[in-house]
Each structure stands twice: as structure tokens, then as C-alpha cells.
């Protein structure tokens, strides 16, 4: 099942911030992690991650640094900033409210609990 475009767009920021909360990372690894976490369901074209990262950087949620990878290639690493952490907490509160509402609206057997799990990621 593909997740709709608007929901992907809305989820992108908390998901990326959440992954960076696990530790600093770089673009390709972040995408890998998203694929891994969502079992390939939450996806967008690879390139789009970078403008998003740049926006988060401009807003001060993440910090970036160019470093050499083990293979000797330059790579831009991103790290969650203190402000980013509080933004993430904020997103998390908002998403759990939305998730809670959806849970009540859709009284739950197994399949309907899926959104909650996905939202819980944030």
C-alpha cells in the first residue's frame, strides 16, 4: 500500500528528525533507514530528501558537516540540534494526538492499529 503524497510530506519532517535523533547520519543512510522502518511503504524519490534537509538546516533543527567517508568520498553528515530535539518532541505530541484521535475513531482490530504504529515512530 502506498501512502498518499500529502501524508508523506507531513510525515517527512518528524521521520527525518526522529532518525537523526538516533544519531548523526547522511542522506543515503537516512533513506535506507526510512525504507527499513516502513518496510518500503513510506517512500519518496531520493532527491527530495536533500531540499528537506536543507530546509531543516536553515531552520536550525539540524546541523551539517562535510566529512570524508571511509571510502574517501566526501559526505555531508547531519546532526540533530538542541532546537531540533525540541521541535521533534513537539511534533511527537502533535502526532500522538492525531494518532489517539484516529484510534478512537477507528475502534480497533489488528489492521487498523497499523497507522498508530507508523505514527508512533515520530
Amino acid at each position: 500500500m502506498r501512502i498518499g503524497k500529502d501524508l508523506v510530506a507531513a510525515a517527512a519532517t518528524p521521520v527525518v528528525l526522529g532518525i537523526l535523533a538516533e544519531g548523526e547520519s547522511y542522506g543515503y543512510a537516512i533513506l535506507q533507514r526510512i525504507t527499513e522502518l516502513s518496510a518500503g511503504e513510506l517512500e519518496w524519490s531520493d532527491g527530495m530528501l536533500y531540499p528537506l534537509l536543507h530546509r531543516l538546516e536553515r531552520l536550525g533543527h539540524v546541523e551539517s558537516e562535510w566529512r570524508q567517508s571511509s571510502g574517501g568520498r566526501p559526505r555531508k553528515h547531519y546532526r540533530l540540534s538542541a532546537q531540533g530535539a525540541s521541535t521533534l518532541a513537539d511534533h511527537r505530541r502533535q502526532w500522538s494526538i492525531v494518532g489517539g484521535v484516529l484510534d478512537q475513531v477507528w475502534p480497533g482490530d489488528g489492521d487498523n492499529r497499523q497507522p498508530r504504529l507508523a505514527l508512533g515512530l515520530g
Partner: protein
């Protein structure tokens, strides 16, 4: 196999980079990041058993549509679509870059340091001369000799012309300086007049010196290749852009000065004299260099503005002249016009030549003649008709009143411009009718530059003695 394929992948990525880098919204660093991503993806895919070019194709595909991606980048970095002045060097507009560290200080930002130093030098030259001689009139008369050497020095630094060219230009500057200062102009320093010249020939010589030395400075800009049509046209482009920037700086500078005076006046401090005596002359001289630097720095960053102004004003100016023809035919007024009529028409012709030259300077020679070229024919014909009417009238009157320096100078300029425009009209008509290649239209204007130089030289060297320094 991987060793065989590795250069192949590098080639693929290099050509991909070439294609991506053309997009304004992406900086080089962004492309680096995307490349790093691409290589990671390719590595993962080849590890899964794909060949490099297959992996490359998939990796590129997964990046998504470049149009959408660059729109995203543009939304995030909207400033990049407005090309910014390269205060950093061309390499990168963000953060530190390896090439920055190795670049000599003075070469950074297109030599802004040098331009500023020369600008300060020009300001000091003007001010020091005034303080040493205590004679504003002298400064005014020598303004080209005082300021333009700094512009020539700037060009010399940028272009490294052959030493012979530099010596020739320096000699010309010296000659003009000698003529301007050794000729016994009437009403020289003995008469007390503020900043205005009493002698008409002195004014003419001043104007002549500005034009002549500007063109001579262009020889330095051409880096010795001043015979080439290309470099001459480049200098014309430079002149147009320079004028636009200079006017902009003057307007903003004037507004800022006014604001400063007003603010200080509100606390009962009168700094107007300081502004007039120091900021104005130093700023005006320094702005010559700053404008020159701006033209160089912005050359590849923004579209030339002079051709744009040309496109806007050619139709309006044509309309104005057509109206003038109608009005003069109905009233036959031009004949009885005032003394300044000829000078006014010199200006009209200068504007027409400028409109023509800057339209040419921006035109793609390969394009077929279009409506704008036809409009130019109309403008040229209108200018010729108007000017012939004026000229006939003025020659009749000059016959009555004799030749003064002013009249002769403006008559000479008028004839020079008329000759230029007449032949330019002929060429333009030929071009519109596809009989004449565009190159000839262009080279006629560049080939005509020495004529202006010659006339300016005559104003400086020959006119004062011819008219008894009156």
C-alpha cells in the same frame, strides 16, 4: 571487472554532473551531495549484482525528476534564482572552500580590494589637487587626467596589456595633462568664479579630454588588442554598463548624503559643507572605480542592463522624433530655434547612436532581422531627417553670425554623428533586406570609434589655440 568499469562510472557521473550543474537552484555543494548519494546507491545496487551502468541508471531514476527536484531546491533556496553579486569567488557562494584558501588576497572577489584602493587613490588625487592648488576650476578641468589613470591602472591590473601599450597610454595622458594646464585659457585662476570655467574652449577641452581619455583607457582594457572589433565592442558594452552602475551609485549616494545631512541637522550639526567638500568629490571619483569593478564582477551574473534600456527606449525615442518632425514641418519652428538647438540635437544624435550601439551589442548575429531591426531603421531615418532640417537651419545662421568655438565644436560633432548614422542607416536597411550581413553593421560602429577619439583630441589640442583660448 570492477576495475574496468570504474572509469566508466566516473564518466557517467561526470556527464550527469554537467547536466545538473546547469540548474541555477543547485549549488556546486548540493550537486556534490547528490553525487555522494548517487555513488552510495550505485555501490549498494552493484553489490546486489547489477553492473555499474545499470546501477547508475536506476540510481539516477530514483533521484526523481530533475525538474521537480530543482523546483524543490528553488523553493528552499529562492535567493539562488536571483543571481547574487559574487562577493565570494565564482567557486561557491556558501561557506569555506578549498580554492578560497589558496587564492591570493587581492584576487578575491574579482579584485575588489584593488578596485577599492584605486578608488580611494582617485578620490585622494582629486582632493589633494584641490587642496594643493586651492583652485576648484583647475580640478574640474583636469578631472579626466586625475581620475581616469586609476581606471587605466585597474584595467592594466586586470588585463596585463603589453608594456608598449601602457607607455603609449601614459604618454597620451601626459600630453593631455600638459595641454589642459599649459594652454593659457582665458579667465584662468586669476578670475574668481566658483567651479565654472570662464573660457568656452576650456570647457570644450575638458569634455574632449574626458571622451579622449576614456577611449584611450579602453585601449588598456583591450589588453593591447584594440584593433579587434570584438574587444572594441566589449569596451562599448563595458561603457554602457559602467554608466548605468555609476548613475545608480550616484543616485543612492546622493540620497544617503541627503539623509545624513538631514539627520545631523536635526541635532543641530551642519555637516553639509563636509559632504560637499569631501564626500562628494571623493565619492564621485571613487565610484568610477567601484562601477568598473561592478561591471566586471556582475558580467556573468546578471544580464546587461544597457541593452534592456535600449529595447525600452528605442520605440519611445522613435516616437518622439517622429512627433518632432511633424511639429517642425507644421510650425517650421526649428529654423528660428535658439542657440542651444544644435547642442540639443547633438545630444539627440548621441542618444540615437547609443541606442543603436547597445542594441547591436546585445544582438545575436545569427538571428534573422526582425521587427526591432525595422524599428531601428525608422528611428535612424527619423533622426537623419530631423538632423538635416536642423543642420540646414544652423549653417545658414552660422553663416550670419560666424563661428564661435562652441558652435564649431557642436557642428563638428553633429556632422560626425550624421555621417555615422547615414552610413549606419544604409547598412541597417541592407541588413533588414538581407543584403548585408550583421557583422558589417556591428563593425561599422566599432570602426567609427577612432573618429570620436580624433574629434575629442582636436577639441583638446587644436581648439584652444584656434579660438585664442576664448
Amino acid at each position: 571487472m570492477t576495475t574496468e568499469d570504474a572509469p566508466h562510472l566516473d564518466e557517467l557521473i561526470a556527464s550527469w554532473r554537467d547536466w545538473i550543474e546547469r540548474r541555477d537552484a543547485l549549488s556546486i555543494r548540493d550537486v556534490d551531495e547528490l553525487e555522494s548519494h548517487l555513488r552510495d546507491r550505485v555501490d549498494a545496487l552493484s553489490a546486489a549484482g547489477l553492473t555499474d551502468d545499470e546501477a547508475f541508471l536506476i540510481a539516477v531514476k530514483r533521484l526523481g525528476s530533475m525538474d521537480e527536484l530543482s523546483r524543490e531546491y528553488a523553493a528552499e533556496h529562492s535567493g539562488r534564482l536571483w543571481k547574487q553579486l559574487v562577493l565570494h569567488d565564482s567557486s561557491d557562494s556558501e561557506g569555506t572552500d578549498a580554492s578560497d584558501g589558496t587564492m591570493p588576497f587581492v584576487r578575491r572577489a574579482n579584485g575588489l580590494t584593488i578596485a577599492l584602493l584605486l578608488g580611494v587613490g582617485a578620490g585622494i588625487a582629486v582632493k589633494a589637487t584641490e587642496l594643493l592648488t586651492g583652485d576648484p576650476e583647475l580640478v574640474f578641468r583636469n578631472i579626466a587626467v586625475l581620475v581616469l589613470p586609476f581606471l587605466a591602472a585597474w584595467f592594466a591590473w586586470r588585463r596585463r596589456p603589453p608594456i608598449g601599450t601602457l607607455l603609449g597610454v601614459a604618454a597620451t595622458f601626459a600630453l593631455v595633462a600638459l595641454a589642459l594646464n599649459l594652454y593659457p585659457f582665458d579667465g584662468g585662476s586669476s578670475t574668481v568664479t566658483v567651479a565654472t570655467q570662464n573660457s568656452a574652449t576650456a570647457v570644450l577641452a575638458t569634455i574632449g579630454s574626458i571622451v579622449a581619455l576614456w577611449l584611450v583607457t579602453g585601449i588598456v582594457d583591450a589588453g593591447g588588442a584594440w584593433r579587434s572589433d570584438r574587444t572594441r565592442m566589449d569596451f562599448l558594452r563595458f561603457s554602457g554598463e559602467w554608466l548605468v552602475y555609476y548613475v545608480l551609485i550616484a543616485i543612492v549616494g546622493g540620497a544617503l548624503s541627503g539623509l545624513t545631512v538631514a539627520v545631523f541637522a536635526s541635532i543641530q550639526v551642519d555637516i553639509a559643507p563636509f559632504i560637499v567638500e569631501w564626500v562628494l568629490p571623493c565619492g564621485a571619483a571613487g565610484a568610477v572605480l567601484v562601477s568598473a569593478w561592478l561591471v566586471g564582477a556582475k558580467q556573468r551574473v546578471i544580464e546587461n542592463i544597457a541593452p534592456v534600456l535600449t529595447k525600452v527606449f528605442t520605440p519611445l525615442f522613435t516616437l518622439m522624433m517622429l512627433a518632432l518632425i511633424v511639429a517642425s514641418v507644421m510650425q517650421w519652428n526649428l529654423v528660428g530655434g535658439s542657440r542651444e538647438l544644435l547642442i540639443a540635437f547633438d545630444l539627440v544624435l548621441v542618444v540615437v547612436v547609443a541606442l543603436l550601439v547597445y542594441a547591436i551589442s546585445a544582438r545575436d548575429p545569427a538571428l534573422a532581422p526582425g521587427w526591432f531591426d525595422r524599428l531601428q531603421v525608422l528611428m535612424l531615418v527619423a533622426a537623419l531627417v530631423v538632423d538635416v532640417i536642423v543642420l540646414v537651419a544652423m549653417i545658414a545662421r552660422t553663416g550670419e553670425f560666424g563661428f564661435s568655438a562652441n558652435k564649431t565644436a557642436s557642428l563638428g560633432l553633429n556632422l560626425i554623428l550624421l555621417a555615422n548614422l547615414a552610413w549606419a542607416t544604409w547598412l541597417q536597411i541592407g541588413f533588414v533586406r538581407r543584403r548585408v550581413p550583421f557583422g558589417r553593421v556591428e563593425s561599422w560602429q566599432t570602426a567609427y570609434l577612432p573618429v570620436y577619439l580624433a574629434w575629442a583630441a582636436i577639441l583638446v589640442f587644436a581648439f584652444p589655440p584656434m579660438f585664442d583660448f576664448a
